[in-house]
């Protein structure tokens, strides 16, 4: 299915689990936060989520900043 990840189309090959997507992106799960269609999805809810065609995700990490 096609997802929109951080503004770019991403062809997802798995079953729509957040953990699968993060693995595809080579993102370490412990270092990211996930938003789906504008809503923050807390880590505790990741397992219960199945992504759907066209879902817009933001994968956020910490960066240097004041």
């Amino acid at each position: 299915m096609n997802l929109v990840v951080n503004g770019a189309t991403h062809p997802h090959k798995g079953q729509g689990a957040i953990a699968e997507l993060l693995e595809e992106l080579h993102a370490a799960p412990a270092t990211v936060a996930v938003m789906i269609n504008g809503e923050v999805v807390r880590r505790s809810r990741w397992e219960s989520i199945r992504l759907a065609e066209g879902d817009e995700l933001e994968i956020i990490v910490a960066a240097a900043g004041g």
């Binding site: 936060a33 923050v40 956020i60 990490v61 910490a62 900043g65 004041g66």
Partner: protein, 261 residues
């Protein structure tokens, strides 16, 4: 003399908070954090980028003993975005602290007091320890304090400007009246300014550019740490009274003048 900086339900020995932006490399930043003795260190948020996945900033900071991360809400244009950023920051860092900053105008980066207040009210309800970056306005400081913020963080001058304590007289009023810690944030350039804040009763300072943009960031971090400590000690030591006229420190006896033998 010093029972530490109390924020929320925590206490910190260091009264120097450090920002991690603008350093030439992560290694330089980590060395500066170490030299500063800072226990509270701010981080920003950005989109994950596969090409930059190796520059994880949380990992190395989290492995340093005694460091608590303070994610900021930089980039938020209003209260709604700031609250969302705060939730994201807590997800990533696990920290209960948030540096609330909403400065929609990129030319002066002055904090929006109304959006900042509104976001603070929401974040306090969400059980954050809110550290709001704010204009040096005593009325707003009181309102943020009443809203339940863990501290107030008035600016010395514009972010990254190095213009020092341009707001000095208002900072003095805020420090005099506040019942929560006052952390002077933004605009500091030299350690003497940090010492001045501590001497006048400020509880802490947050420094980033002054250290990151110094020729030798590690040495400057050490200098700021010493200045903050010196200023705090001076505050407790009690400054001598000021006098209009000179007051001699040596006996003004006349034995050098006149006399025959």
């Amino acid at each position: 003399m010093d029972d530490g900086l109390r924020l929320g339900d925590r206490a910190f020995g260091s009264r120097l908070l450090l920002g991690t932006g603008k350093f030439s490399s992560i290694e330089t930043m980590l060395a500066a954090v170490r030299a500063s003795g800072a226990e509270l260190v701010t981080v920003a948020l950005r989109r994950f980028n596969r090409e930059r996945s190796d520059d994880d900033i949380c990992g190395p900071l989290a492995s340093m003993p005694g460091i608590t991360l303070v994610p900021n809400t930089s980039g938020a244009m209003n209260a709604r975005e700031a609250v969302r950023a705060a939730v994201l920051g807590r997800e990533i860092t696990g920290s209960p602290f948030v540096k609330l900053e909403i400065h929609p105008n990129p030319h002066h980066l002055m904090p929006d007091p109304i959006e900042t207040y509104n976001a603070a009210v929401t974040l306090v309800k969400e059980a954050f320890f809110v550290l709001p970056y704010m204009p040096a306005d005593p009325v707003l400081a009181r309102r943020l304090e009443d809203a339940g913020c863990a501290a107030v963080m008035p600016l010395g001058s514009a972010i990254g400007s190095g213009q020092g304590l341009a707001t000095l007289s208002m900072l003095q009023v805020i420090i005099r009246d506040a019942c929560v810690p006052v952390i002077v944030d933004a605009g500091l350039r030299s350690p003497s300014e940090a010492a001045a804040v501590m001497e006048m009763g400020g509880d802490a300072v947050l420094v980033n550019s002054a250290i990151a943009a110094a020729e030798n960031p590690t040495l400057m971090a050490d200098a700021f740490a010493a200045a903050v400590k010196a200023g705090r000690q001076a505050r407790f030591a009690g400054l001598m009274p000021r006098s209009e006229a000179a007051v001699a420190t040596s006996p003004l006896t006349a034995f050098l003048a006149g006399g025959g033998s």
